[in-house]
């Protein structure tokens, strides 16, 4: 067992973990942050994507001990002060999710994508999320969701998403 200290969504946690514990299991089972999902065992689906020191990583491919001393951001920390992140808003406005299982990973991947490239083309978005599998949406509306968030974060006019009927 080894003791590690990590900062998760701004909060510091210290715990002892087995050397073989994967970061995703540590996040889900030790920290009880179950928004980060496990969809495969070969690092191909991206459902477990989180930010490690600001970089999107598949947390099933990182050992918990490797995260020692680092900053972790998960989907639970995305809505700052209860306000939805533009990406969360984009996914809701554009029907970017069906079952929701891949969504946290998609969101966390897209956070870094937009940080690096605030004005991505459709092709750049598609390449940028190609490491994350979605079986429900056909990606069409995920791409639109990310375009919406990018526009919002740049302060541009938002694409029409058919107004919510009140």
């Amino acid at each position: 067992m080894k003791e590690i200290t990590v900062t998760v969504n701004g909060e510091q946690h210290t715990a002892s973990v087995e050397a073989r514990t994967l970061l995703v299991h540590f996040i889900r089972e030790t920290l009880n942050l179950t928004g980060t999902h496990i969809g495969c065992d070969t690092s191909n689906c991206g459902a477990c994507t989180i930010l490690l020191d600001g970089k999107s990583v598949k947390s099933c491919t990182v050992l918990a001990v490797q995260a020692n001393g680092k900053q972790i951001a998960t989907v639970e920390g995305l809505a700052a002060g209860g306000e939805l992140h533009p990406l969360q808003e984009g996914f809701k406005e554009n029907h970017g999710l069906h079952c929701g299982f891949c969504t946290p990973g998609m969101l966390m991947r897209a956070v870094e994508l937009l940080e690096k490239n605030p004005n991505p083309s459709e092709e750049e978005i598609r390449w940028g999320i190609a490491g994350n599998l979605c079986r429900c949406t056909g990606y069409n509306n995920i791409v639109k969701s990310i375009q919406y968030a990018a526009a919002k974060m740049r302060g541009d006019e938002l694409p029409d998403t058919e107004p919510e009927f009140v």
């Binding site: 089972e29 999902h37 495969c40 070969t42 929701g100 990606y139």
Partner: protein, 787 residues
């Protein structure tokens, strides 16, 4: 008051999913929980000589190890099959047992032989590795065509030639005669390859027995918790149904694979009582690949006959359907009643005969996967039509227009009686093709194709005009076809004293957005805000009964059940309103959330009537208090969505790689409650259909090893493989359900596959390519081009 029906309302369920607060089965942790890990066979066919569990049992943290012997001794049965298909001679299909853990002989890679239960997941897995199984490896058969050969190894000793059933539908003599006199016959022989459904959430189950009240709870990744409970209680474990609660919480996609009652659900439930502790099992993806029911796997020879004018005169089909090693819950109906009955397609073909043989092999069981039988039927028909158009030098769109069933609305014109048992409800098939051609700008794209060809570029256009049978379905009909369950749906509408409404539906959402769509219907019908409506599903404790979600049935059947209960509420509400307004019921009208005396401004609001029902001080004599109605809705017929999908592809002449440049889809799913959600369903379906055409295939080697059982090796469409989809719709309402809806869950998958393959063949037709085996990998395409 708001008119919600037809509006693209943003989904109410999204908030929990985008904030990481969804509650999926594996997220649930119960006090004292233990973790199960299955020991699975690495061989496709082997005799089990012995199992040594001693080393595992000696490990710290191991709670128990169970083998097939323990299961057999406890008197527990295997998982049953829910659909019976008879042999042509009337004999009942062969239905070998499917034990929870096998004791004698494994029959596919992944067959479970032992279950280890430990204090934590990792210990359970370590202990599983310490179990020594002495296998005597036997010869396996994986291919359906080989399995019926006389000297093939038998999957089950008492099933000769591995034949589960043979089955036929249609008029054989008339079809043979029509084909004999046909001017032109187009023949195709192909495999509709095996697919893995691959919902991104792996299956999981938690059994929780509470001794204090002798009650079980099963949390499971299921598309139909009530049916799972029924099968689990009555057929497998033999425990009273009222002592078992089944909860299917948030479920991360299903696509058919989570319809079925799986062995692991029964195992954790059984073990939790043995141990008096909760037992959780969560599949690893490699386990999902070998245990989630696969889809498709048909070997087919199909012939379509035409007269000199290009009118279809006959269709003859022979299919071998690979069922895998055991019969999964609905397996027998998929290649028969969900496939053979759809072979009329959209066409007036006067003579059809289909012959299907269901075959056991040493592979993972095969069952319904998105579309289930209908994609196979559509692939067969639509490949034949485009191939025939090429052969007869006709335009594929023109050939379709020539053969379409004329429009009928099912009200003023009767439904269309097919040659293969079904009666279509309503349709306007020309309209979807016309609209799709407009969306594509067909003539322009054909010109571009011709220009490109001159420059050595390979562009192709492929069509598919499909029909499907959804809203499964009238109980009497499916019963006559072999279903061992009714296929109605239930709904309870409980109006709370304050006029807020809770709706308990037997449908189950795992991505379809019922919490939004159903609430739109309820809010509209009552004239109340959507925020006042809550949709509850997935828990047998709160929902009285349900048949679950599959076959695009939720809105057509489940939504109709809700409407029935709504009507009962409104009928009772009118009596209360009449009393309060001192008017006759017939003088009232209900609109905008209130009952009004016609021609006056005297009215009473829905909420006030609800409160009166629960505080019945001033109340109609003889009327029961309360405002809570349940209904069961058994539809009069299936629903028949249809549509046209057109693919435009470009093939790289150097590598054979296919680029899908455009995907145009005009679908008719009847009335639409939420166009945003319907479009989303179409998109997802298109992606899965395209996946089959271009990327996906479950591959077994000769010994029965699954050689691509991981996401590293099994190719699913990723974001960069697909274009933006171009979708539109026509609306031909369903004439026999109160919402006029037909269902949208499977349309995209059913229509798109042949459109893509037709497009690639079209791109290469001038090089002599006539047919290609799916998936159209660059290697296959390149080889075909360079033959």
């Amino acid at each position: 008051m708001a008119n919600y029906i037809g509006q693209a309302i943003k989904r109410v369920e999204d908030k929990r999913f985008i904030t990481g607060k969804g509650k999926y089965t594996d997220d649930i942790v119960l006090p004292g929980m233990t973790y199960a890990y299955m020991v699975r066979s690495p061989f496709a066919h082997a005799k089990i000589n012995s199992i040594d569990t001693s080393a595992a049992l000696a490990m710290e943290g191991v709670v128990a190890v169970f083998t097939g012997k323990d299961i057999a001794e406890s008197g527990v049965n295997g998982v049953p099959c829910g659909w019976q298909v008879n042999f042509k001679n009337g004999d009942t299909m062969k239905e070998p047992p499917h034990p929870l853990l096998v004791a004698d002989k494994v029959r596919h890679v992944g067959d479970a032989v032992a279950m280890v239960i430990a204090e934590d997941r990792a210990t359970a897995k370590d202990a599983a590795e310490a179990i020594v199984v002495d296998y005597e490896v036997l010869e396996a058969v994986v291919d359906a065509a080989k399995a019926v050969e006389p000297d093939a190894p038998l999957v089950h000793d008492d099933v000769p030639k591995n034949m589960c059933f043979d089955w036929e539908l249609g008029d054989k003599a008339a079809t043979d005669a029509a084909m004999a006199s046909a001017h032109h016959i187009t023949t195709l022989e192909f495999t509709n390859q095996r697919l893995a459904p691959n919902a991104i959430e792996p299956r999981a189950a938690i059994g929780h027995y509470e001794e204090a009240n002798d009650k079980y709870t099963l949390y499971t990744t299921s598309q139909n918790p009530h049916l799972t409970r029924l099968l689990l209680c009555a057929f497998v474990l033999g425990i009273p149904e009222h002592k078992v609660r089944v909860v299917a919480p948030d479920v991360g996609g299903g696509f058919g694979s989570k319809i079925f009652h799986y062995t692991e659900e029964a195992l954790v439930t059984w073990a939790s009582r043995r141990l008096n502790r909760p037992v959780k099992w969560t599949a690893e993806r490699s386990e999902s690949f070998v245990t989630d029911a696969h889809g498709r796997d048909h070997v087919t020879r199909a012939e379509m006959g035409f007269d000199a004018e290009g009118k279809m005169v006959g269709l003859r089909v022979k299919t071998l359907a690979n069922l895998g090693a055991y019969l999964s819950t609905f397996a027998p109906c998929v290649p028969t009643y969900l496939h053979g009955t759809l072979l009329q397609g959209l066409y007036t073909t006067p003579a059809i005969h289909v012959d299907v043989t269901g075959v056991f092999t040493h592979t993972t069981p095969v069952d319904a996967y998105r579309g289930a039988g209908r994609p196979e039927a559509t692939y067969l028909l639509e490949r034949l039509v485009d191939t025939a158009a090429h052969e007869m030098n006709m335009d594929p769109a023109e050939l379709r227009f020539k053969n379409f069933i004329p429009p009928f609305d099912g009200v003023n014109q009767p439904g269309y009686q097919t040659q293969v048992a079904l009666q279509y409800d309503s349709g306007n098939y020309e309209a979807v093709l016309k609209r799709a051609l407009e969306m594509l700008d067909y003539e322009k794209v054909r010109k571009e194709q011709a220009e490109a060809r001159k420059n050595g570029r390979l562009i192709g256009i492929g069509f598919s005009t499909y029909i499907e049978a959804c809203g499964i379905a009238p109980s009497a009909v499916v019963g006559a076809l072999g279903a061992r369950a009714g296929l109605y749906e239930s709904a309870q509408v409980r109006v709370q004293p304050t006029g807020k409404v809770s709706v308990y539906t037997g449908s189950h959402a795992h991505g379809q957005g019922h919490e939004t769509t159903f609430a739109q219907v309820v809010a509209d019908k009552f004239g109340i805000p959507m925020e006042d409506v809550e949709i509850v599903h997935g828990d047998s404790e709160s929902v009285a009964f349900g048949m679950g979600t599959y076959g695009s049935r939720s809105l057509a059947v489940g939504g109709s059940a809700i409407v029935k209960s709504i009507e009962k509420v409104i009928e009772k509400g009118a009596k209360i309103a009449a009393h309060k307004l001192e008017a006759a019921v017939d003088d009232l009208e209900f609109a905008g959330g209130k009952w009004t005396v016609k021609g006056t401004d005297k009215s009473i609001a829905f909420g006030d009537v609800a409160l009166t029902a629960y505080v019945p001080h001033d109340y109609p004599q003889g009327l029961e208090p309360g405002m809570d109605f349940s209904s069961f809705y058994d539809p009069a017929n299936f629903t028949y969505p249809f549509g046209c999908h057109i693919a435009v592809v470009e093939v790289d002449p150097e590598t054979g790689k296919v680029e899908l440049k455009r995907m145009v889809a005009c679908d008719d799913v009847g009335n639409v409650i939420n166009p945003m959600i319907v479009d989303g369903q179409i998109h997802g379906g298109l992606a899965q259909g395209i996946g089959q055409a271009l990327f996906e295939e479950v591959i077994y080697d000769e010994s029965g090893q699954l050689v691509n059982g991981s996401y590293m090796d099994y190719t699913m469409p990723r974001a960069d493989d697909l274009p933006m989809f171009e979708t539109d719709r026509t609306v031909t309402p369903c004439p026999h359900n109160p919402l006029g809806v037909k269902g949208a869950g499977e349309a995209g998958t059913i229509g798109s596959t042949p459109a893509v393959v037709n497009a690639v063949v079209d791109a290469l037709s001038h090089l002599g390519v006539r047919d290609l085996e799916m998936p159209l990998t660059p290697e296959r395409v390149w080889r075909a081009m360079n033959k």
